[in-house]
């Protein structure tokens, strides 16, 4: 009798747990998947610039808000989000915000041609073997990571990003930097 009651209560608790888990899962924004790298120090890298003018290392960008955008010319959503990136770059180019475009799964020639064609004035680098993308937990382009002045990955956006999301994330990090 007692055992049956315990089992019945356990079944109710299990069903409630399932319902709560599903409810929380459906509430999450699929563009804001929290994988292992969020809230942790951004993995270091030193990658060649696409135009061949030397290397860019994350360590060189220390103390700045860094927006890392993984892109490729074969990626249609990257083309769709590019005007937003161009506008936001122009808005912050004279500030403490650095944009870094990481060319993903593509030859450097194709990547560079795309950068020139799309008017991407910000720093662009080549991740030839995908190692940097994997260290950030990238699923596929476009993906955008926001790194604070403390070098911690504060957020990520999977898929094409809109201007409001981009500016909000940047301003939040700038605000945090100012209050330190």
């Amino acid at each position: 009798m007692m055992l049956a009651r315990i089992v019945r209560i356990a079944a109710v608790v299990a069903i409630l747990g399932l319902v709560v888990t599903l409810a929380l899962a459906f509430r999450r924004d699929p563009h804001d998947i929290r994988t292992g790298t969020i809230g942790k120090p951004a993995p270091a890298f030193a990658l060649d610039r696409l135009d061949g003018s030397g290397k860019v290392a994350l360590a060189d960008l220390s103390g700045k808000v860094v927006v890392m955008n993984f892109f490729a010319s074969w990626c249609l959503p990257c083309t769709q989000e590019n005007p937003v990136l161009v506008r936001v770059y122009e808005r912050y180019r004279a500030s403490d915000v650095v944009m870094v475009g990481v060319n993903y799964q593509e030859s450097r020639d194709n990547g560079l041609a795309y950068v020139q064609r799309m008017g991407m004035g910000w720093t662009t680098v080549a991740d030839d073997d995908g190692r940097v993308a994997f260290s950030y937990g990238v699923f596929g382009p476009p993906e955008t990571f926001f790194i604070g002045t403390d070098g911690i990955i504060a957020g990520r956006h999977i898929g094409p990003i809109d201007e409001e999301t981009l500016v909000t994330a940047i301003e939040k990090l700038r605000g945090q930097a100012a209050s330190r």
């Binding site: 049956a4 079944a11 292992g36 799964q105 073997d129 190692r131 994997f134 260290s135």
Partner: protein, 153 residues
Amino acid sequence: MNGRVVMAIGLVALAAALLFAARPREVTADERIDQITTELRCPVCQGLSVKDSTSETARQMRDIVAQGVREGKSNAEIEAEFRAAYGDWIFLSPPVSSWGGLVWLVPVAVLGAGVLFVSGRLRRVEAPEPVGPSAPQVAALRERVAREEAAEG
């Protein structure tokens, strides 16, 4: 006597064969790469391992695993690099030691609870509580029997 000798030789040969088969064998680099990439999920595929996928992403991951093996890293070290970036999701089978291990434990727990519940119900069906007449009923019955006996004379 001869039969015993033959049997003893046969048993020794069998034991030797078993020992030979069970001896620790050095795993080759290719086998280690296969082991690791079989466990890793291809991030751009639907339920495919890195080993089975033909995507460019899986190819790059295989290269990184192969490089790690060449550099002398252990399987755990190589897997930890991917876990650090993607979490336990990157493994096709969730590790038992993490929260993902609930995937393995919950069905077992539910099955155990089900077995207990069903066996409890069956026990109750098989052995129903003895239902006897109450004391007043017994007294009434005795009185009735006595009356009938008296009437029969």
